[in-house]
Amino acid sequence: MEKRFVYADNAATTAVSEEVLAAMLPFFREGYGNASSIYKLGRDAQRAVEDARSKVAKALGADPREIFFTSCGSEADNWAIKGTAELMAKKGKKHIITSVFEHHAVLHTTEYLEKHGFEVTYVPVSDKGLIDPADIRNAIREDTALVTIMYANNEIGTIQPIEEIAAICHEKGVLFHTDAVQAVGHVDIDVHSQGIDMLSLSGHKIHAQKGIGALYIRKGITLPNLIHGGGQERGKRAGTENVPAIVGLGVAIEAATRNIAEKNAVITQRRNKLIDGILKLPYTRLNGDRDKRLPGNLNISIEGIEGESLLLMLDLNGICASSGSACTSGSLDPSHVLLSIGLKHEVAHGSMRLSIEEDVTDDDVDYILEVVPKVVTRLREMSPVWEKMMKGEKYE
């Protein structure tokens, strides 16, 4: 078996694509003008920014005036949630609804708000990693300011019933935000027809640069600023525009939302082959609904081993993957996402996420399916937990 390099961690970040980099390059040393400057160098930069804004808007079914560039997905989440909180607190609405398995950019923000006088309801998710819209309906109160539910989960890839949730929110007159960082480019999004009030996205998940994101804010919502200062982004987000990254985001989102269905068909097939192949290993389980999930995502728990050492072994074999192991996060508890779907700590520790795109070939898939069992076997052989499991003993 010849060693290969297989990048299977696109949910963590992606490489900047060739076409994105090509589009960015002229804006570092030639078109470097400040987009707020009045001379040609500045006007050209501004035109490039507005062109990118139109592309982002088009990809989401939004109006360009509804798109605001941010420095990342986390900032977009923080802005949407804190901004809405500030806005609605004036009307006495200080209750927020979210789910237990959101990204930390949402959860740590709502936790922050809890310390500042807001009440937050965390709706549960099913063992398949799906949110029940009825739970949202039941949680909505008179003083609910915002519902924020992620479009697709970053660890287990499950896609949530966004339209149903949005409809409930509108029926009840509550604003609805979705963290779509993992969804953009993988599912068809049309914010207007789907009734989405605010949507966060991040460039580096779709082959744009790290450090660029956007928040869609439906016309009519006057969200207070998160970052005050200059008049950029129509006065809503200060800071000299990151022209190259913005230009790159425009190109990236156009490419990512082109032929989604075709791409997904190929990726899903390879992903399923991976799932079936890895699940042949005993004491493994797929995390998250098998069908309602992102095409490139698989998340599998492998009992008797610990995730970080699995990742390091895979890395030695040229495979980049990720895990819900506590040890990769520096915390003591394993992934809150895996715990939220009912996994026991000791099982959650031994999980592996692969997130592939169309560049992961059939040969790569075969390679992964050769390496993973080998590595798992090796780790299990040195695992006292596995030894006990095989002897039928409890190992807690």
């Binding site: 970080e308 050492s309 072994m313 040890c327 040195m382 695992s383 006292p384």
Partner: protein, 139 residues
Amino acid sequence: MLYSEKVLDHFSNPRNVGEIEDADGVGEIGNAKCGDIMKMYLKIENDIVEDVKFETFGCGSAIASSSMATELIKGKPVSEAMNLTNKAVTEALDGLPAYKLHCSVLAEEAIHSALEDYYSKNPEKKPADFDKKAERDSE
């Protein structure tokens, strides 16, 4: 998170992995819920650690720490094994990230636990200060 080359080396080629069927002392430390279990097997002859093996369920630095700890005591007098500190393990690995230091502590504890097992079977060999040392460790 940055692992040293030494850590990566001991992780990818761990020394002394496995079981000793007729071990003189066996110790196990940690629990699966927290993501780390270390098991140490000692073969002791004439107050010398003739052989040592480990099994570990845990992250990269847990495996590397186990491996390094076994290397540090193999062939050495039991008294040295008894005095092995997590600091020595960490230093021998050229350092560990701050939040991984507990892995080296586990290795120290697993060896002590194995020695405790050994002395419980061979109370006559137990040094007078062993319990005091064990106490100090758990401070």
